[in-house]
Symmetry: C2
Subunit: 229 residues, 2 copies
């Protein structure tokens, strides 16, 4: 799967979360990182190039800090100019149909604030409705939004977990599927360059892979058994 | 009540609906019409002036064509730059608290498209959640959105009705209140310059006013009677 990450941030250099996400991009997958404000500092968007870029990918991600419950202005301009009728919707506008569409949202407030009765009062499912409506209009499959809450307070282990979940969100057909995540983990462990790790790490990696394969095999057997009952 | 209409439209001259709304503004009320793209053609917003303008008004209206289920980019930029923490939210950001906030949305599709199962799939109540969340955050009272659907297909009588509803939306404390709308109508009829009308119009206006006063009096009596039961 080829994934296009369209990032909108007016000051990406000053954003530790965006820098972290950029460095977290998996190198062994087909991912295009595309920062709008950097590409178009004068605000003049090359619509033809943008449409071509979208057509070359299977999954489109909008990645941005949540400003006033929506995207920065640059991404809004991009939507208004790039998603034209003949391209994205209408009788002949079928270029995006069948692709998957996701949101990676960096959010300053805590997760519990985003619910009825919470400080923000609305859930992420509610706030992102304009993007859901857009995905529906152009025929893209809307993925669960990937919310990153209060990055500035995360400790290192939480960030490592975030890194893995982010990579899976970008690359897996269904990042909720345990099986897909297991397969992804085995691929990632297999691809790990042992020379970059302490000597004693090699047998641990090997054992982990064996264990994952074994657990999956047991789960599959159990499933077959249950289906046969 | 002083009302500030903040309009965002990249080509307001070419928009018949926006021109109609501009010409529909009541002259005898305290209304400020403020078109962002005209004020800031280079995109550099004067935040201090904008904040001052908001403070001078009791009702804030965002008026725009619905692009991708949200506002044009210019209004988004305005939100991100003008609604600062020390001004609009946070401990000392109380400048907007208690004001009312409304949306005037010009929408190309039909009203019935905006519902579950409809062509757009989401209601206006759902699509406008980011603005509702904004109003909540800054302590403004959110008014029902004023949706103008398919202006291009409206006949003259429908446009006259729209004109009245638009004026009432901008100026009345509660434009759902029959009593407020009656009073507004009596004021408007009384202020009408008879010299601009055919001679036979004067008695009709007078009779209409008498009728409105009479009906209101009957309704009030009935209400008193019911309350006493």
């Amino acid at each position: 799967m080829r994934t296009l990450v369209i990032v909108s941030h007016p000051d990406i250099q000053g954003s530790s979360s965006q820098q972290f996400l950029k460095e977290s991009l998996p190198t062994h997958e087909k991912i295009t990182f595309h920062h709008l404000e950097e590409c178009y500092p004068d605000g003049r968007i090359d619509c033809v190039a943008e449409q071509k870029l979208m057509q070359e990918h299977d999954r489109i991600i909008f990645q941005f800090p949540l400003y006033w419950y929506s995207s920065p202005a640059m991404l809004k301009q991009w939507q208004d100019e790039v998603l034209t009728e003949s391209f994205a919707f209408g009788v002949h506008g079928t270029a995006l149909r069948g692709k998957s569409f996701g949101l990676v949202l960096v959010i300053g407030n805590s997760e519990k604030a985003y619910q009825a009765g919470g400080r923000e009062g609305f859930s992420l499912s509610a706030i992102t409705i304009p993007f859901q409506a857009m995905a529906k209009k152009v025929g893209m499959h809307f993925l669960k939004p990937f919310g990153i809450y209060q990055f500035q307070y995360m400790d290192e282990p939480t960030k490592w977990k975030l890194l893995i979940q982010y990579q899976q969100y970008l690359c897996l057909e269904d990042s909720d599927s345990l099986k897909e995540r297991e397969e992804w983990l085995i691929r990632a462990l297999t691809a790990t360059n042992l020379a970059t790790l302490p000597k004693e790490a090699a047998p641990i990696l090997e054992e982990t892979i064996t264990q994952l394969v074994h657990t999956r095999s047991e789960l599959d057997e159990l499933k077959l058994y249950l289906e046969g009952m």
